[in-house]
Amino acid sequence: MKALLIDFGSTYTKVSLVNLVPPALIGTSRAPTTTETGLLDGLNKALEAFTPEQLDGIAVKKACSSAAGGLKIVAIGLVPELTVKAAREAALGAGARVMATYAYTLSDEELDEIKELEPDLLLLSGGTDGGDRKNILENAARIAESGLSVPVVVAGNKSAASDVKKILEKRIPHVVVTKNVMPEINVLQVEPARQAIRELYLQEITKAKGLDVIQQEVGLAMPTPLAVMKAGELLNKTSGKEVVIVDVGGATTDVHSFCDGKPRRSGIVLKGLPEPFAKRTVEGDLGMRVSLQTLLEVIEENEDIHALREYANKIKRERSLIAANEREKYFDRIFATACIREALLRHSGQLNEVFTPEGRLWIQQGKDLTEIDILIGTGGALVFADDAGSLLRAGLRLEHPLHLTPRQPQLMLDHKYILYAIGLLAEDYPETAEALIKDTLKSLGRI
């Protein structure tokens, strides 16, 4: 029995052909994504790499997609540090691109902004259970009157939820009520909202994005980032080890961490909203191609900055450009290192020193990743690099001791570039998925 796993990416359509029992990777292939002529063209092109015998006996087809902009979500809440942050975590954990977040009562200007962002879905939160009702009711009314007609997931104060639904349903075609992302102050509950977003994605959003043909043909299961996340969750669960994944792409750098991230030493007070065990961050300004102009801002201090700018301008004219010589390869390494370092800094927590009458204390905000066991690199920039290990090492070099970035993890590379396929198989074929993880993860040693 074989399975065909597909990732419709923004630039490439990747396929993995897998034997389910006994578990084995038969092969992988990729071809440019064909958004204009329908995604199936690109898929068929990618499948040409396999022989008819190889393609015979496929019993399972599953796909993930980040084509057509991925799953675009706008998250809305009440207080920025509380329900807005909780809603953002829930959306990121569902594999979405969070286009923007909004706090307090939505203004007319903000509603116009939301329309321009063309999100696929709104995630509306606000108020703890039994807490503030006014804000979420007001925002629901403003959304209903605004002329927006995107699906809305309501994950706010349960005491207001049914009224919010009634208000929205008058104008909005699909309204799903789920549990509050923050039922009590400083309690995070993102799983129900993640689930609701995923269901809505499969039922409605794929249709709206013209992906329903794909869904019928190959079983579109989830947005690509969620598939990568599921692979990480599986590895964490089966190995019992704390895992971080860094995914360096052309447009974004994603970081996933699977650990509780609590303080590792005494004398540290944890502050702020708790962090999800499986946490994902997406850095839209850190990428190897599309986001180069913003990436340059974080590598200001390089001695070759002028040459780097020239190279970036060349790439701007030709997005799919591949480094032509040693010097350009060197520039790509600088870009990749900057993506890794900056994305990890932003994902990790931080310590701040405070002096109290009891002596010196530390306040921790965010997750402590200093003692994670495994750090996996994936994404084209790492998988196809000559020296992924040294890129990861350079990205992990300790420059900010108060940032709780990974210190001495075992470095691994997703060298067959199949983490997405593993994630797609994780729910229904966990044993096959587990075997494939072992197959693709190549050790790059320690830092």
Binding site: E81, L82, T83, T128, D132, I185, V269, L361
Partner: protein, 137 residues
């Protein structure tokens, strides 16, 4: 308890005295309040944010380490800016160091916008009765 019985509780500033905070939480829960306890080392912003999200009726601030005046200054004004200017503010503990009488201290904190001010050693029951009265519960 009918009506809004939600209160935000915490120890302000860099103060890490946790025992009294736990006792207050238990006493107010026992008395029928829904307590949102932020624990120790709570900033003014954290008090206000929690009060907004939970639509609380009162904020109860403790301070034991003598820096209460500095830590509490401006809390009422920030509440006003945040749209919860009418919320009840209580404060209690070793609020200042030095030789000031409690009357002076009470006057100082009332000028800062606190509705009730308690000296050290007051039993929770006193504050509970006051709060019930102030909230009409």
């Amino acid at each position: 308890m009918p009506g809004n019985n939600r209160i935000v509780l915490g120890v302000i500033g860099s103060d890490v005295h946790a025992v009294g905070n736990k006792i207050l939480e238990m006493a107010f829960e026992e008395a029928g309040f829904k307590v949102i306890n932020l624990g120790v080392m709570v900033s003014q912003e954290e008090f206000i944010n929690a009060a907004i999200e939970s639509d609380a009726a009162a904020i109860l601030v403790s301070s034991l380490y003598g820096h209460g005046e500095m830590d509490c200054r401006g809390l009422r004004e920030k509440c006003q800016e945040a749209g919860i200017g009418d919320i009840l503010l209580y404060v209690g503990g070793n609020l200042v160091v030095g030789k000031r009488t409690f009357n002076e201290v009470e006057e100082l904190f009332k000028k800062m916008g606190f509705d009730r001010v308690y000296p050290p050693g007051v039993l929770p029951e006193v504050a509970i009765q006051d709060l019930k009265k102030d909230l009409g519960l």
